[in-house]
Symmetry: C2
Subunit: 146 residues, 2 copies
């Protein structure tokens, strides 16, 4: 299928980004998130729970409860979210699937792909959520979160 992130991971990123747009510490209910982001309610609930257990988010039950970032937005990178949901196997597996492919025994796209993978990794760790949220507030971007 040639994808990069799983659906779950996409939703996780969108959710965290939405929370980052809120005043720090403010709790947001799944209902609000699900409505604004157009993601199935229970599915998103599962994903947020998962992010909460890894510490990326905090949660509170009851009325006025909901989810919020577990630490300052600028300390959360895209990679943190990807790793929590999808894992980071893609970093060390041969892109063509050759089991024998390694540094000493490289397949024909090993070095090229390796370079690109490093760039992707750099993008993931250098992009923090605070920065991304700021960019999304700009008038150029009027999307799901407002």
């Amino acid at each position: 299928m040639s994808i990069f992130f799983s659906r779950q991971c996409e939703y996780a990123i969108q959710g965290v980004l939405y929370l980052a747009l809120k005043p720090q510490g403010e709790m947001t209910s799944i209902k609000e998130l699900t409505k604004r982001l157009d993601i199935p309610y229970h599915f998103l609930a599962k994903i947020l729970q998962r992010l909460a257990t890894t510490g990326l988010l905090t949660s509170a039950k009851g009325p006025t409860g909901g989810f919020a970032l577990g630490k300052p937005a600028k300390e959360i990178t895209l990679f943190d979210i990807v790793e929590a949901i999808d894992g980071s196997d893609f970093m060390d597996k041969c892109v063509l699937g050759f089991p024998e492919c390694s540094g000493k025994n490289p397949c024909s796209v090993h070095s090229t792909w390796g370079r690109m993978r490093d760039e992707i990794y750099q993008m993931l760790v250098s992009k923090n959520i605070a920065e991304m949220a700021r960019e999304m507030k700009k008038p150029e971007y009027r999307a799901a979160a407002g």
Copy 2:
């Protein structure tokens, strides 16, 4: 899951690469391929059939039958195989899954990811099978195909 190619696509690439190492026009049976590449027999059969219907491979039944490249190896690119199996949707979908994301309305990684995607595309179209097969023959690479 953070992958790039599906399992099917990986197998397809490995299979075509193996065929490219053979003298031109020589038929190779699934049995040989499956044994050398360690891919489930019937699953590989399906994949090769699919590649044959798109013209990338030719096939012949009966004894002495099998599969062979449908055109010169240097005219087949990685992209041809990927497109035949996985399609090329990844080229124009937002990597974060925002349905509203587009050139006019870019998400916060839109341009960065776009650049990387272009690089990946360039890699896929510039790598032809003949070249890759040559590299695999070098002593540095002694893998599945020999």
